[in-house]
């Protein structure tokens, strides 16, 4: 499918040698929203959270997170926001997979210093799934490269899909599902949010949501 029919009129291209970044309203909107959210995170002060499971004892317990951990977490959240913004605007298939893997690593990193062992346990399991799914993710991109000879999305969208491209795209879909932690791998990822530190934890959720939207666009571009 042509990217003009998917994302609206072409506003311009940024040719960087082999890779051509194309800008249309759809990608630009996703990019701007993520950058705006990243900016909000960068200026936000950490807030403490009330531990919900202790409401029934009437003693409302606040869970504090110390300053150092919050600084580290904020830094990783900002990098995560920038990486997902890059995945929104990139015009290269392999760059998209690399941004995706980077977001996966940063998601683990954001919760790496929490005190709850259950959160660490689910982060460990999510990390294992993300690592296993890098095989179909990168492998799918490599198969598409081998059968078409290019990784540029602008060129790929003009090509008819051969059976090998369809196979690569299916592998990539499996990889995207695992790497962003959606069904059927969601159990461990959902448990990763159960920790204090509200403004930064939510980037884990947001980045995978946005990346799924972009992945649907890319798969449509490659397949149709």
């Amino acid at each position: 499918m042509d990217f003009v029919t998917l994302g609206g009129d072409l506003l311009g291209t940024i040719p960087l040698g082999d890779i051509v970044l194309y800008i249309n309203p759809f990608n630009l909107f996703l990019f701007a929203v993520l950058l705006g959210f990243t900016f909000l995170i960068a200026i936000s002060k950490p807030e403490t959270q009330v531990e919900a499971s202790k409401f029934n004892t009437l003693g409302v317990a606040e869970v504090k997170v110390d300053e150092k951990e919050f600084r580290q977490r904020r830094f990783l959240s900002i990098i995560c926001g920038i990486a997902s913004a890059g995945a929104m605007i990139t015009g290269d298939l392999f760059n998209f997979t690399l941004f995706m893997a980077l977001v996966g690593i940063l998601n683990i990193g954001i919760v790496s210093a929490v005190k709850q062992t259950s959160v660490l346990n689910s982060a460990f399991n999510y990390g294992l799934i993300a690592m296993m799914c890098s095989l179909p993710l990168f492998g799918g991109a490599a198969i598409i490269l081998a059968s078409t000879g290019t990784l540029s999305l602008a060129v790929l969208s003009q090509m008819p899909a051969s059976p090998m491209v369809v196979f690569g795209a299916i592998l990539m879909l499996i990889g995207i599902l695992g790497e962003s932690g959606v069904a059927p791998f969601f159990a461990s990822k959902a448990e990763m949010f159960r920790t204090p530190g509200s403004p930064f934890i939510v980037i884990i959720h947001l980045s995978s949501l946005f990346i799924i939207v972009r992945a649907v666009e890319i798969l449509l571009l490659v397949l149709w």
Binding site: A113, F124, G127, L128, M131
Partner: protein, 227 residues
């Protein structure tokens, strides 16, 4: 259009199949194993299968893709092992006596062998390996001799290595580094003594690699046996 031999093109599909099959075997093994450290190592095998599939493309572009793939793989392994370490530390913090209950073992399954050859043979094999490593010289020789030292260190059950031994090995490593640098310098300053500088560099590299591998083995054993 560049000419590519037909043999290389026909290698592509078998390479992809091999990568996918390795990944499948790796995930099967992960499904069967229950020890977390083994799962981590097996996951790395699946990651290496990814490198397989990417490198099967075989163009210069694929070469540029392997490096970021490797880096991502390494970063993920580091992040996950960091998570594992943090979790174990938190567990020990919450229950300090928990880590005293059972001692960890190198082997995936518990087994005990009581044979005389297990205590006498490693010394002999280590000696042969070190002698052969000295004969080889250079990087390969260093690795072989270091393997001998590691074998010796792992086979000896005696715990509590004296600090002098560790310091001594580290010192030998430093001297070897100097030998290597001097050999390299001589090579450029006085090219007519190339044989001398070659031997200096080769012996330095041998000692360096051997002592480094040996040190890793000794420290690893110290870490594992620590209680």
């Amino acid at each position: 259009m560049l000419y590519v031999p037909q043999e290389f093109i026909s290698m592509y599909l078998p390479a992809i199949y091999a990568g996918l099959i390795i990944g499948f075997i790796g995930t099967m093994a992960i499904a069967m194993k229950r020890e977390e450290i083994h799962i981590l190592i097996l996951t790395d095998i699946v990651g290496l299968a990814m490198i397989f599939v990417v490198s099967a493309v075989g163009t210069d572009l694929a070469e540029a893709l392997i490096l970021p793939g490797l880096v991502v793989e390494l970063a993920e392994t580091l992040a996950i092992s960091e998570i594992l370490i943090t979790r174990e530390m938190r567990k020990i913090e919450q229950d300090p006596r928990a880590n005293l209950k059972r001692s960890s073992s190198l082997f995936p399954q518990a087994f005990s062998l009581d044979m005389e050859i297990m205590t006498t043979a490693p010394n002999f094999i280590a000696l042969i390996l070190i002698a052969y490593g000295i004969f080889l010289t250079g990087f390969t020789g260093g690795a072989v001799a270091g393997g001998g030292i590691v074998l010796y260190a792992l086979s000896k059950k005696a715990r509590g290595l004296p600090v002098l031994v560790l310091d001594g090995i580290a010192g030998v490593s430093g001297i070897a580094w100097c030998l290597w640098i001097i050999g390299f310098l001589l090579f450029f300053v006085t090219p007519q003594y190339w044989l001398l500088s070659l031997f200096l560099a080769a012996c330095g590299l041998l000692l360096k690699v051997a002592s480094k591998v040996g040190l890793i083995g000794l420290l690893m054993r110290e870490d594992i046996d620590k209680e």
